[in-house]
Every structure is written in C-alpha cells, then in structure tokens.
Amino acid sequence: MSDKNRLNGGLIERNRPMSFTFDGKRYSGYAGDTLASALLANGVRLMGRSFKYHRPRGPLTAGSEEPNAIVELRGGARKEPNTRATTAELFDGLSANSQNRFPSLKWDAMAINDRLSTFFAAGFYYKTFMWPAAFWEKLYEPMIRRAAGLGTLSHEPDPDCYDKGFLHCDVLIIGAGPAGLAAALTAGESGARVILADEDFLLGGRLNAETGLLADEDGVAWAAQAVARLRSMPNVRVMPRSTVIGAFDHGVYGMVERVSDHVAEPAAGKPRQILWRIYSKRAILSAGATERPIVFENNDRPGIMLASAMRSYANRWAATPGKAVAVFTNNDDGHRTAADLHAKGVKVTVIDTRPDAGVSPDYEILSGAQVIDTKGRLGLKSVDVQLSSGGTRTLFVDGLGVSGGWNPNVHMTCHQRGRPQWEETLCAFVPGGTMPTGLIPAGAAIGAFSTHAALNSGQDTAATALGDLGLTVTRPDLPSAEDAPVRVASFWHVKGAKRAWVDQQNDVTAKDVKLAHQENFTSVEHLKRYTTLGMATDQGKTSNIAGLAIMAEVTGKQIPEVGTTMFRPPYTPTAIGVLAGRSRDKDFRPVRKTPSHYWAEEQGAVFVEVGMWLRAQWFPKPGETHWRESVDREVLQTRKSVGVCDCTTLGKIDVQGADAAEFLNKIYANGFAKLAVGKTRYGLMLREDGIAMDDGTAGRLAEDHFVVTTTTANAVPVFRHMEFIRQCLYPDMDVQLISTTEAWAQYAVAGPNSRKLLQKIVDPEFDISNEGFPFMACGEITVCGGLRARLFRISFSGELAFEIAVPTRYGDALMRRLMKEGKEFDVTPYGTEALSVMRIEKGHAAGNELNGTTSAFNLGMGRMVSKKKDSIGSTLSERPGLNEEDALKLVGFKPVNAEHKVPAGAHLMTKGTPVDAAHDQGYITSACYSPNLGCHIGIGYLKSGDTRLGEVVRLVSPLTGVDHDVEVVSAHFVDPEGERLRA
C-alpha cells in the first residue's frame, strides 16, 4: 500500500522521509508533503465522512478551501478538530484521526442517514422533531447535539501560548503567487517597506503547481529565486505560513502566522501562532483564484477532486489518486490537468462539455459529453458518461478531476460590505464596489488568469500604490510567460441529478437549492441560511457560485441578479487562542498591587479583586475558621482601639492653578471656593442629568492646590470627566489636572487611639492634637525623621480617624512601622470587609448607593446642591422627576427579629399591601452583620423614608423566599451625633 500512488519529481524532499499515523495506521511521506498528499501517495483516498449523511469523502482540493478532508490533528490537549489535511504540513510523528464517524471511517453506523435522506433535506429541523413537546429537551436535543458538529474538542485547557504583534509597512502584499511576487519585487526594489504574506509554507502560488507557465525558465526555480531576492532586501519582510484573515478599518489587517504548527511541539516559551495587526498604507490583494467544480450525480466520491488540485498533487507533491483518471471540464484550463498527468505516466480521458473541444495525441477527448453518475462508495471506481451522440460509456478510473472554471478570490474586498460584480466573459464574480481603504486587488483575483497577465497586473498595481505614496518606481524585469485566453462555456450542473452535491461540507444538494426556491426562500441571503449552503468552515469557497447559478436558473434570473452574500473575517478558520494571545488565566488582565501588598501577603491576608486591584479583604488570625470571625474582630478592635487600612486605591487627582477652587465649584454640587487652606471637605459630584455620580473629599493644600479623592471604581471615569470639563467646557480656566493615585501610598488610621499611634510617627514639630489639627484638617508634614507626607483628618468609619500618605515606595515600610508602633495599642490591620461594615454602621453612602439612578435628594443631600453657583448637574437636579413628593430616601433598616438577615437587593413593602412591583416602596443597597449592634443591618432607599422612622415595613425577596419585618431607622447606627469624629 505504501507509496503506491507516488509519482516522479515533485517538490518533496525525498532525502527527508517522515513517518505519520492516520486513524492509528502508520504511513510514510516526505518533508514538503501535506497530510493529504502523503495519504494520496499511499493510496488512501477516503479521509472523512460528510456532516449530515456521513457519505465517504476524500480531498476535493489541495488548499485552504478544502470542504471534505478535515481531520483531528495531534492528540491529547493539543488535539485540534476540523483541521484541513490539504494544508497540514507533514512532520515526523504527526498523528491524525478522521472525524464524524463511528465506529470507523470505513464502516460508519451513521451512514444510515444517507438512506433516510428524504427526511434530512434542507430545513428539516423546521418540520420535524416537533411532537411530542416533552421529547424536546429529554430526547431530541441531546440526540441532535450528539449528531451535530464535525470534530470533537479535547476538553483540556490549550497548553500552547499565542502572541500578538504589530507590524507597519508601506505596502502589504497578500498572496505570493506570480502577481504577488511581481508586486513585491517592484515595491521592494523601489525602496518601499514591504510585507509579503502567503498562507502556504512554500511561496509561489500556482508557479509551484503547474508546468510550462514561463517561457524560458522553470516556474518553480523562478519563484524560489524571486523569494531569495526578496529575503535579501532589508526593507522586505517575507512571511510564509501567514494567512491574512481580514481587512479592517484604515488599512489595518489581521494576519495569523503559524509559527509552530509544522513541528511536533512549539519550543519552550515560543508561541504556537502569532496574531499580527498590520498597519499598511496600501495593500495589494494578490490572493489568486479558486477553481469551482461542476455539480452532477454522486460528484462527491473519494477520488473526485478539482482538476487543478489533481495536477497540484501530481506536479508539486508527486501523488495521484490513481493510475487511471478522467477529467470533466467546461473550459481549456481543465486540459492542463490531462497533459500534466499524462506526462507523469497516468492514463487520462477528458470529458469536455463543449462540442468543439478538439483532439489530442496524448489522451482521448470526449466532446460535448457530460458525467451523469459515478460508482465506488468508499472510493471512485467508475464514471458514467453521456456522449454527444446520446449513448453512454463507463470509464474505469480511480480519480476524476473536475473543472467548472475559476472564481477570483474576492473575499477580502467584501469585508467592508463591498459587493463583487459579475464578469460574463469569465463566468465569475470579480472585485467591485467600494474597496476597503487602500486595498487594490491584482492578478487572478481580478480575473487576470494567465501568468503573463498576473505578473504584469502585480507589477502595475504595485506601481500605482507606490505612486500614491510618492515613491519613485523601479520596475524589475519580469519573465516571459504564457498568456492563454480564457475560454469557458457556462455549465453549472448536469440536469436530472438526484444526489448532486453543491456544498460538500454542509451536505447541500442541487435539490436542496430547488427546495428553497419551492418554499419561497429565493433571495440569496435566505438560500444561504435555509439550506446552510456556504455556512461551513470553508465558507462556501467551492460551492457558493454553483448554488447561485442553480437558484438563478429556477427563478429565471441572471446570476448577478441573484447576487452574493457577504464575506466576513476570518478568511479561514482561526483558533480562539490566537485571538486571546497572552490574555488568559491569571494574565487575562493586569493586576494592580497596593503599596502594602507584599506585607499583607506575609500576614496571610485574603485578597479580593476590585477592578484590577487586589485589596486585602480581611486578615485571618490563626485559629479563625470563618471570615466573619476575622471581620467582626477587625471591626470591634478598630472601634475599641485602632485599626489601619490601605486606601491607596481610591483616586487621588491633583488640581492646581489660579482657578482651581472655581473649577471645583463647577464639578462639585456643593461649594468649594471658600474652603480654607488646610481644610478638607466632602464633595458630591453629579452627572449632567442631575444623578449622583461619585463622592469623595477635596483637601486644599494651598490657595491654588487641591487634592480631590474619588471612589476606587470611579478613579478613571472621574478623571476623564474632569479632563473633559477642563478642556471642553472651561478652556479659559487656569486649572491643571494629573492623577497621583499611584504616586502616594495612603492608609486610614482609625479608632480612639488613632491619634496616639500617629503621634509616634509624625515628627514632633507637627501638632496633630484636636486643637492643632481639628476634624477635616489637612496638611503637608514629615514622618519618621523627615520623610515628606500628607495628613488628612477624615473618617469613613465614623471613628476618630486620619489618612496618612507617603511616597509609594515607602508604603511598605510605613505599614510595618505603624504595626510596630501600634503594638502597644493592639493595632489591627483591617480589610475591605471591615471597612464596609464600619461605613454601613455609620451610614456613609458608597458605590451601592450611588448606583446611577439616585440623586442628591435621594441620598438625603438635597440641600448640599448649592443654589448660589452653577455646577455640573445642578440645573437638571431640579427637574420634577427627581423631586417627587414620595421620592426614595436613604435610611437604615434593622430586623425586628434579631436572628433575621437583611439581604442587599431585597425590596421593601408597606405592611398590608400586596407584594408586587406596583406597591414597591424601595430596596436595600448595602447590608452586613454589625458586631457592634449584634444583628444584621442594612441601608437602602425607601419612599419618603426620612418621614417613616420607626415604621415597621416588610422586607421581601420573592425569588429567594425572604419575607420578614424590618424597622425603619436612621442610617447612622453608630455614633449618630458624630462625637467620636470630633474627639
């Protein structure tokens, strides 16, 4: 069996033999083979089973447009389904398995579907599996799910890594066939920065697959020499194994480079693939053309392939589907296959639909003939031909090359909604309409099919692009090449066929197209979706046009009237992994660490993600088994003595300039112009529509210098908001902004002993007694013998508290010093949970309360919105909708039964009213267990809540079965008079 269909010659490296397995059986091939070519050479034509009907299939093509020969490549975690055997480079030890068959490729139980094909015609699932309804989820869905799909996943995490990259060039050349090489040589020699990309591992396009294209030299040799010349130019970057997958805006292209797919495993640390983003000034689409088959009865047997593929296998890969083959063609190009196969010693017969097909001394030509059937279930055995005379003849062949003409690869010209146009003389669509910016198609992609035309088209297009860029054009000499005219007779399908395949990957027949018409799905968009024609991984590259042609015929329209569907990126299937790049698992996004992070890790802190930040959530002590133990302890200890919390993450925006105070007056609802130097003030920011946006404090360090703080989550949005106001609304104000969130480590030191602790580190010349540094003071000081610092007397916890800031690199040392000096006060670090408990106990609003739907009025801060000055949002905050009689008001809630919880998000109902949306009175925004009160508490919004203190209302959460009574109380559970704050 081995090597039985190997021919002479080819571009394979016979001194580098390789061993591989397919479905567990061992075979040998050579470097330069693809999996498909090596299998064909070994006499294997059967490589897959079709999607719906499980018909035996072999390769239809020799390229990335392949619909049938799709396999599971590699094993274990690196197994990849739906890999095209026609482009998989052979390497030693390669292992592949066929897919979509059970138990084996040769004997597939699901082939029964082929017998029941009447029930599986296009759109069958709209008409079947309806009754009984009880079977939908229990039987039909699992059954269809198991039957659907082609390959299977490994279900293991992808062990490979993928890179992203960025490239810049003057000219991107997509496709390195004759047109692309000519363009690259021209652009390269003219000094432009060039990127030449091709999806193949050997550059040259059809030059490597044909004979006799160039007059005076071998096409293969010329291509190799052109590539070598290009590689020697420092301004040219040659990129094989690189598929340009999409044309995006502004001359940006996506390209997947397969770095390691042709070796057994990527080298350590090296990516499997790279997704390049290419910024080009111009791009030349020299993507070539794809041959189309003809549709006839049983046109899908293993051994039946595109005529050009048959000669690619023979010329480049020295392989043939068999010792005797036939060619079915409607154009001159199909005859090339006959000549090439004959030259390699294969017996050939040509079946030409045209009555004037001519004669040949080398092989028989049947003119005016058609293929009407084929035989050979697991591999082609014979072909039945209807002759022009009316009689029939059977040809016993192992291979049939089919040529229905060529389709320019227009796909990328349509990625931004361009529509191709029909060219009657070619019986094909060519690029038309608006191109993506800077993209110029060339060569076979515009229907310049002869080698001479392609070479010159490439050079001329490059010259145009270079001229656009203002570069002087150097035109290198191009070789003399064949210039055969295109002679094609329109012939799409053989009439009267029953099982004639249009889309082989999705198993769509000519009959299905007619069925779509019968059911009135005649528009090309409906045809596609009703029949699934063109919706498989090959995106209909070998089937779209035939489908259109058949629809045109049955509707009595011309093909261009039927039109085409849209092509979208990616051009060929693309691994999700390469789109993700390095952004996966813990590297999914960057991590921001606070200045005390390493110290907190040493303490065994439990961390929580707050946006990109990692913040200590609580600091468990040995013996504590539940988070509540730690959090309750931190809260109690802080309120009893002193606690320290890292609050570096809150935004710190530096505001300076002669108009800094005036600027703050604009961004804050309350007044700041008269804030004294050395004082801090709570500030509320509104959106333009009057809804509360963020809150924080602003400290005045000097006449012209403030530090504005924001919540952690809004640090960036508020900074952006302030910059917009500065640049766009008040460009005549003298104010400058910059973020200093990262520059300063900032810690809250809170509790009755907080001052005593700070007095041990603040340098003695600074008076931080209650008289020297009263509530809401701020200033620049030094600590620990001269380190510059800033001190703010503000409190989120409701205790006597300060926030101390030092340059970030000293944050770690400061925390350690505070812990050391605080030992005598039993200082405790506290995390975000304790922080939250304390601010809820105090009734401070936070993000949960500023939820984008609530106003200052709802927060109970209506009077804070100054009427004496204009500020962002103040006007619209007065609109009636935000000032209703029974508006929501922020209040506190205590369960009547101390055992009950107060779930955040639960809704509030007046007792005795129905529990429904119409009677809804509000909702809980924040809740916690209060160790100080010994029960759960919550704060939230209640209609007219401020007038209902003492009322008992119903707390409900119908979805989770909560329904109990809570008492409406002041949100300030702890120290409502604020005595501790001012101590």
Partner: protein, 203 residues
Amino acid sequence: MSKSSVPISSTQRGNVSVHDLKPITPLGAADPRVDNVGPLTLTEVTSVALASVAARLGSEEATRKTLGELIGAEAPAPSRHTGDMLLAFWTGPDQWMVEAPIATHEDLAHRLVAAFGSTASVTEQTDAWCRFDLKGDDYPAVLERLCAIDLGNWQGGEVQRTTIDHLGCFVLARDARTLSVIGPRSSAGSLHHALITACRSVF
C-alpha cells in the same frame, strides 16, 4: 506644595532626608531586578526621580523658557525627549515629565516648584511609575510583540505613549541600543511579565 495649617519646618535636612524608612522597588524587592534573555538585558530602573510640569494659562512661554534652562536645551516638542542630567519628555500640550537622578535630585518636585513659581503646576511623580530598560541591538523584535509603535520610523530622541498589555506606558528610545518602558507602578509585576515573556518568545 506650600502652605498648610500647621507650621512646617524645613522638610529636608540639607539635601537628604534622614528618616529611617526603607523603600522597596515596584516589583516589591529591596533591589531592582535584572534579567538576561538571549542578546537582551531587561533592567528595572529605580534610580530616577520624576516630576510633572504643566504650564499655567498664559504662562506657556515662560514655562518653556524655564524648562529649557533646566534641561539645557529647548523644551521638547510632541513625541520628543531632550536634556542631560535633567531630561524632559513631552506628555501633552504644554505638559512634560522631567527626569533626574534620584541620588542627587530626590526632592526634584520641590526644586521644580521653586524654579517655576506660579508659571507652572508641578507634582511629584517618582513613585507613580515603574521603568524597565531593554538593552541590546535587537529590541525592535521584542517591541513589535508588545505595542503598535513603529520603531522603523524612529531616528532617535522619540517618545510615544502607547498601550502594552492593557497598560498605558511611555516608550522612549534612549539610544540605538536602549529602550525605556515607563508604566504604572502598581502594575509593575504585570508589565515586567509582559516584557520578559515577549523577550523569551523572540529569543
């Protein structure tokens, strides 16, 4: 940075603070990190003080003049960096970042406040940023895996703001063999990881 409600005596004793708190690097160590990958070296740089300068309205010319005097060259234009012991790079309209050796200019921001007076707004930025220098002839091959900067067009003296692995960074070509990546300090670990991974991917 000037007056506050409490009396401030001199914040420095001479030119150097005598406090006893030890700094840590952005990567959380006592000393800056150095990695060698193939022909390249990736060095964490913690020896540079940074301060931002933004001209006040109407004082743009005066700010430019003072900045020029400080760095011994014209205030840099967009995408440029210039200077010597004190170096400045453009960060926005009438805005620059100033670099100086921390050993001699730990109080850089303080000095710039004195120099610019009321013509410009100055902030201390030293600890807002981390910096990694890529040294070697081949750093372009690494940078193209990280960001969209077109190094092929750079002649020398350029700086550009860009995104590397979702982090906003400044990239400066110090000379033909040295590239500085300046990123947010709190994400130093993530930035270093991105840089070293790209180095190992290429070499």
